[in-house]
Subunit: 313 residues, 2 copies
């Protein structure tokens, strides 16, 4: 059985500077849980990777907000994500006290893994379920990914996530990466965090589950960074079509999608051609700054040149 995690309030935050009204955020978590989503990721603890000026409620996830959500849905569905450099040991205990039961720790192949491993051990000792998310997984060399996964599993993590941050992965690449990680993750389960830049979030989710992934991130209307994530309503409709979605209340999910659409204008789904062009070359959202502002066709040609420069460097 798949554990579905709603990342709308967190990844969707990149669209509105994490400034969801408090009332909406709590109602969203309540309706998401009522629709049957196993976990609701309510935000970042103390900021995203880089500091963001005036970051809103779901970019901070202070104890007060956590308590309000936990009171609404019960701690057993409350998830918070974090970057190791933003938190201390005290945060782990404070979050547990406030009502978090799952923490997700962002990790990468280009930064030391030790801080993340330390937090895995602290989290497990505090009684939390702990996941580690490898960001920009499309850029991690396979042997390195095996070593990283082994270390995370040995530290006691419950879940290892592959995050397709560039939205550039194909179903066969997803299948291969999930198989690879699943093969060396021992007791830890494996999850996918998909992005829709190429329109492949749903095919990649299907491929990931076929390859053994048991945790899946999605967001309502796909609201997430850039072109967004796997769309919860499409994913649960798919699970229902293949006979694995009977325990979700799809009508309730659609009502939530309608409400999100109505109350949070930044949630409007869009798959900009420029993001598609970037993902064709596995470039990141950060590379966008190096490209001309203009028509998709110009961006595509400039992206190809940039990718060639990277390859030559």
């Amino acid at each position: 059985v798949i554990k579905n995690l709603d990342v709308t309030l967190r990844d969707g935050g990149y669209r509105n500077n994490f400034s969801f009204p408090r009332e909406y955020a709590i109602a969203h978590a309540r309706e998401s849980a009522a629709a049957g989503l196993e976990w609701v990721e309510i935000g970042y603890r103390k900021g995203s990777f880089k500091p963001i000026e005036g970051i809103g409620l779901t970019g901070r996830s202070d104890d007060d907000y956590i308590r309000a959500v936990a009171a609404a849905i019960g701690p057993e569905r409350v998830c918070v994500i974090l970057h190791p450099h933003n938190v201390t040991e005290a945060d782990i205990h404070e979050m547990y006290e406030a009502g978090v039961r799952l923490i997700r720790i962002c990790a990468s192949s280009v930064r030391p893994l030790d801080p993340a491993l330390g937090l895995v051990r602290l989290g497990k000792a505090a009684g939390l379920t702990v996941a580690v998310n490898f960001t920009r997984a499309s850029r991690i060399e396979p042997r390195h990914l095996v070593r990283l996964t082994g270390s995370v599993a040995d530290a006691g993590a419950d879940v290892v996530y592959i995050a397709d941050s560039n939205g550039s992965m194909t179903p066969s690449e997803t299948s291969r990466l999930i198989t690879l990680v699943r093969s060396v993750s021992d007791a830890a389960e494996v999850g996918l965090h998909a992005h829709a830049n190429l329109g492949l979030a749903l095919p990649n989710a299907i491929a990931a589950v076929d390859a053994g992934a048991t945790w899946m991130d999605s967001s309502v209307l796909g609201m997430g960074k850039g072109p967004g994530n796997l769309r919860t309503e499409q994913w649960l409709a798919y699970l229902a079509r293949i006979g694995q979605g009977d325990h979700y209340d799809f009508g309730r999910l659609l009502a939530l999608a309608d409400r999100l659409q109505r109350e949070i204008p930044e949630s409007v789904p869009a798959l900009p051609l420029a993001d598609l062009a970037l993902a064709c070359f596995d470039l990141s959202v950060e590379d966008k700054a190096k490209l001309p502002i203009g028509q998709a066709a110009e961006i595509f040609l400039a992206a190809r040149m940039l990718a060639e420069e990277y390859a030559a460097a």
Copy 2:
């Protein structure tokens, strides 16, 4: 190698009553052909299934329009689709004379096949490439589909298409249907016409090709009936990512997508929640009229009841 067919001017016509400005339609065909699409379907011959009041240019495909497109891109890429009850033998010859080289004949499991078979033979005798499209394939009983395919292949059709008119098919269903049809189509190749109601157009296209389909419909920005079709730009990006798209000019395709977006407001991509709800129960766009106008959640519940009534009847 996959034959890609751009259906924007035809299926997209459901969004704007087929009223593409003549200048745009010709420019679209030219740019689509220049981007490398093997075929451009420029419209219906003499109307869609039911008569539509004031139907525009690409709903009629008169000889003059065909000639203008054929002059712009050469006959070898010009495709027109038709419903058998709208045309006579004379149309077949007139279309060929004007510059059509591929006709696609709509067929269904709920109407007699003989008129379509007669047109297949006429089309072949006239020197055309001929495809037959089985609409609403999700509702065709498999043994019946095998018989229909056999008849169409025996009549000499070059391609048999499965059309997921309700947008309700999953990748595994698509794979099964394409395998079934391919198994009995003999010399005829097999194609897929996908719809995006469940967000599964791209996964279904991937599954279809993996199962042996060699013809694929798509439309720029997905512009098509209801939530639309497989998006050409996503599909060609996918083919490029898996190393099968080098002969397409992706920058030129993106420029066309930008232009379509700018000049034809109805092309704006959207995946309405109500259409997703209908496709959950394999209901058609015609069933929409039997459901309440309102929030997606209400439509979902009403759609479920309607599907239960159909199942009981």
